[in-house]
Symmetry: C2
Subunit: 236 residues, 2 copies
DNA sequence: GTCTATAAAGGGATAGAC
DNA sequence: GTCTATCCCTTTATAGAC
């Protein structure tokens, strides 16, 4: 599972990396099989053929393993999306790729994600999806959408908010995915395609010069709500 | 806490209603004070001056009490929003009222709501925010926004999707509220006002005849995704 | 019957030997 | 780096007191 990203990130540095990956693989398999809570550190260590203490040497605890899963998903998304961006010419293709690759990565983890959902309600939890602890992960995630629209001729204010809005859409789609019980997650796939078409429509409308005041308003809302940092241009 | 809604819903029918309300009040106070998980049915019964068995007579368990809280919030929202709608003339005022009353009702329950958040990730849980079990509650919640825009001269397709979109906005604002640590939730209040202004802008744009194809697309997306039932007009 | 005290089990986490 | 041993907390089960 982690082979691709791990191999890319650390080119066979040491045997210890191999062990770490082994623990991650085992843990993820167990999470999928019996759920997050039902999986103990003992199970993970045993499954990886290690003593409990060894597992703790590599990860501070189960939480840290899940954190590594977050990091893996993010890194894998970045890599896969970039690869797709190099092929995909149109904005539509790029946005579809950004969203589909995310589901590709998570397609076996619906159960796990449902369990991880709960941390979203606790701002102080390290695994919260929206809390300060995951800010860096979030930034990287938004960055993928920044890259997806890079190269588009867009007004500055659109360039500033679009990545965050696309990230929000992507979170909404993940929520839909969480509830999707259609075979092979067809409905999620369809939703992605349809949502991207809508985004293309919305882009056309939103970029009209006439819409500048509306865009300003959105920008100000997000800034006031601290959902968007001050932009470079605003600071300049 | 439950005085207002309970009194309105059941005009002093019996002492048993009084007891039920007593349990709810006690439970809610304890949830707020020490959290959902830390509160046991024993604590609730004791706090309400009842034996454990008596508490179980009124509610099947802690979960059922939380369900009653959901119902209370919904009923209270309906009542308060309607009262405000009778005063408020403009669409802006009505939308603000619909959103602010919701926060008014929940302003003491941030901690509880953070704990309840976790059920959102489990489609099969009775307390899931998006699952089938809460469909009726959700319908009632959407209805408030339906009433908020009632009387507006709007194209049919807008009338059909707007309540759901406003409900979604309202869920987003609740998520923001969950994370809001500003005094008196000022930031959430500001966000509501700003978001409503944006909605007014969006309404102006979206209702242009030119936008009809885009509206159709949105309608079809929501229908395909089963987020919106077939409309009356579509069935006719 | 209901409550409470205590024991047993399970599992997260750490220390120190090798 | 990996092991064994151990700690400590939480949950669950049970048994005896009221």
């Amino acid at each position: 599972m982690f082979k691709d990203a791990a191999a890319r990130a650390i080119p066979q540095r040491q045997a210890s990396e191999e062990t770490r990956r082994q623990i991650l693989d085992t843990a993820l398999a167990l999470f999928r099989e019996r759920g997050l809570d039902a999986t103990t550190m003992r199970d993970i260590a045993a499954g990886a053929g290690l003593a409990l203490g060894a597992a703790y040497y590599y990860f501070k605890g189960k939480e840290a393993i899940v954190g590594a899963y977050y990091a893996y998903v993010q890194e894998e998304h970045r890599v896969r999306a970039r690869a797709a961006f190099e092929q995909a010419g149109t904005l539509r293709d790029r946005l579809r790729a950004a969203l589909h690759t995310k589901i590709d990565i998570m397609k076996n983890d619906q159960k796990l994600l449902r369990a991880l959902f709960r941390f979203g309600g606790d701002p102080d939890h390290p695994l919260s999806w929206f809390g300060p602890a995951s800010r860096e992960q979030r930034r990287l995630s938004v960055e993928v959408f920044e890259e997806a629209i890079a190269g588009e001729k867009l007004p500055d204010d659109v360039l500033e908010v679009a990545p965050l809005l696309l990230w929000t859409l992507h979170m909404g789609i993940l929520l839909y995915f969480l509830y999707d019980n259609s075979p092979a997650y067809r409905r999620t796939r369809k939703l992605i395609d349809a949502a991207v078409d809508f985004v293309i429509d919305a882009k056309r409308v939103a970029t009209l010069p006439l819409m500048r005041p509306v865009r300003r308003r959105v920008l100000n809302i997000l800034r006031d709500a601290k959902l968007l940092g001050e932009s470079e241009s605003a600071r300049a």
